[in-house]
Assembly symmetry: C2
Homo-oligomer: 420 residues x 2
């Protein structure tokens, strides 16, 4: 009897993490001699800890295929980090206990940096605990901060959403600027790195194109310089379009989003750096503004996903199974860029030991001299990642996303695990 | 020599107002014997007042065709309302003077309620001022509040954007809810009417589907009832997805967006009802939240425009010219719904006298009994308006929107007009 596989989605979900699940499950189904059933953790690794497994073999081929065009995490995800072996020994033992009980020989963990760290730890402990498994990490994160891989699935689609949205909204502002709105601020994700904000820069193809200003978390916010830049854009182009990363900080190291506003009780809260900037422009320069906060819309926007991103997400899921079938343990498939123009890529392989706890930062030469835009090097890197459209099917004017049956696997253990 | 035509875009622009311009200009070009050149007002009616006219005959057929898939107002729009004849006599005289100078015999005004009022006034004064013209109003407004016409171009595409976006973001939240975000609030436009918020309701096709709560400006906000509804959704479905209209007010008649927050100087400002609601839920029920404010993104989102909306916008531009060629003055082409299922429509005609200063409100029976959702009658009305996709062409991963040359017509008048 072939061993079963465990698959879990971890951390913030994306427009294409289900495409990875699709690639992984479809590929596993092609090898019934080597992989039994694919069990998914309900709500990520928590599903393994609580022995709450989903039997994906009960989903039709059509529904699994539909995962390719369905955003979000079909099996549920979670924000739950396993700590080090010493601190969390009980958790690791519990995982092994559950995996043993369900004859699981393959562990696939689909997530960002923390998840790859967990995958790495599990790849190490199986053997010492007398239950060796094949552990393969599968990359995913809109933050694009995993090392070794050229980029991370999920990022390309957010990048496309941001570039398309700021282009569209800027066309709107340009139309209105003569007598009305002159300033548009769009806030995007990126607490620690400016990858997503940088993607807005792709929309500006020539001098004067929007966005005129990008604010990165890597650059300390300078109000005076910023206002001068805004005023200059309005005087030169009639309006100013701004993309701002949620993680922008002032020179005191505070998030700008928290430095400006107070709720009714005087708490620094409610967030949103976009309204803070908009109001700053209004009160200093007098220009009428509009602002948007994209939040989840950006990472869930499967309707405008990057085809490149979808293909890579699927390919990484497929590659994860193939690596496992080759007996590779403690690895993660990666994207290797082989050519920029035309854009070409292939699947590579990284050791989880080299991935765990390493954060890829945005290269400093990706930000323009003045700190408010992207460089050609950055554009060369980003542009291919948003190439192509991959529209979901529509019915009655709405995208048809699949909701799986998610039937539970009968429990085999008498012991339970209580989430802290 | 045939008379020239004047065309202007007015008020907030939309994803499809340029499709109307496309229909109008393409149709005018088919009748060179009856219509000379189409002059567009640069930045709307202001362009007429300041004799700043754009010669659209200098644009290529390809560029005019590309207007069909380009959001925003290609000639610039403005927020500028002509007052009554007595108050603004000088403006009306100036308009006639400019139209005379450029031999303009057709006046097309593409906008919402205020613009149709202006069209109506101009249709009346031409004759009394000794310069009769054919005046045709062309409907446009995301607010969907023009009377007589079944719906307004621009609204269907916003509706589609809102329904698609709340569906996608809600899938995201559902994945995360077990250990993280349980509440998602999406703020949409609609200061006075809940048309756009109602569109979010289309995404909920069966019991339990998101959004679980819609907040309309028509319904006075009741915090206790709202919180109970949120808590109930979280307990029943694991999460709660909310669409809120920017115009929601409390029982004191204040906008909720202004009632909750203070900026650093203590001013009630910064706006955004979404963060106010999110924080209200957090502090009362303790649930983690995310929120988004779509703002201009929703009305500029040509990438996900409704095909029905695009076709109607084009057809209305075409019909405007055809009505003018039939010599019809003081009219506005409309959309007439002839069947719901299958959805069918045709072009009708309204008198500007019946359109001016009449605001179509959302029928009260479109809002569900408890005030937090839409009825079947509402769904029947809304669903057809979001039918079909009409994707713009892409290059390098980005939609290709046209920027016209917008070459000015040489001025003929020695007098100038100073904007107040």
């Amino acid at each position: 009897m072939p061993k079963n596989a465990f698959y879990a989605q971890s951390g913030g979900v994306t427009a294409v993490i289900n495409a990875t699940a699709c690639g992984l499950i479809e590929t596993a189904r092609q090898h019934p001699d080597k992989i039994g059933k694919v069990y998914a953790g309900r709500n990520g690794i928590i599903g393994a800890l609580t022995e709450d497994l989903i039997d994906t073999s009960q989903e039709s081929d059509a529904d699994i295929a539909a995962l390719r065009h369905t955003p979000s995490g079909a099996f549920g995800s979670c924000r739950f980090k396993l700590k080090g072996l010493e601190e969390s020994k009980a958790e690791y033992e519990r995982l092994i206990e559950v995996f043993k009980a369900h004859d699981i020989g393959y562990f696939f963990y689909n997530g960002g940096g923390d998840s790859q760290d967990t995958s790495h730890k599990i790849s190490q402990i199986g053997e010492t605990m007398g239950y060796p498994m094949i552990c393969v990490g599968v990359p995913k994160t809109v933050d694009n901060d995993l090392p070794i891989t050229d980029n991370c699935p999920g990022f390309g689609s957010v990048a496309k959403y941001v570039a398309v949205s700021i282009r569209e909204a800027s066309f709107d502002v340009a139309s209105m600027a003569k007598t009305s709105t002159k300033i548009f601020v769009m806030e995007v994700m990126g607490r620690h790195a400016g990858w997503i904000a940088a993607a807005g820069g792709i929309a500006a193809e020539k001098e004067g194109d929007a966005p005129h200003i990008i604010l990165f978390p890597e650059i300390t916010f300078d109000q005076e310089k910023f206002l001068a830049k805004v005023d200059n854009a309005v005087k030169q182009y009639g309006y100013c379009s701004i993309v701002v990363s949620e993680g922008v900080k002032n020179k005191e190291g505070q998030f700008l989003a928290e430095a400006g506003t107070r709720d009714a009780f005087g708490h620094a809260q409610l967030g949103g750096v976009a309204p803070v900037l908009a109001e700053m422009v209004k009160s200093n320069l007098g220009y009428k503004y509009h602002w948007a906060v994209a939040d989840y819309l950006q990472r869930a926007a499967r309707h405008i996903a990057s085809k490149t991103d979808v293909e890579q997400a699927y390919a990484l899921g497929k590659a994860a199974v193939e690596l496992a079938l080759e007996g590779k343990n403690a690895v993660m498939p990666t994207i290797v860029r082989t050519s920029n123009n035309p854009y070409q890529w292939e699947i590579g392989i990284a050791n989880l030991a080299d991935v765990a706890n390493v954060e890829k930062k945005m290269p400093f030469d990706f930000i323009s001299e003045d700190g408010y835009g992207i460089t050609e090097a950055c554009r060369e890197y980003l542009q291919p990642l948003i190439l192509g459209e991959d529209y979901p099917p529509y019915q009655n004017g709405l995208p048809q996303y699949v909701v799986l049956k998610n039937i539970g696997v009968p429990k085999k253990l008498s012991s339970t695990y209580n989430l802290k």
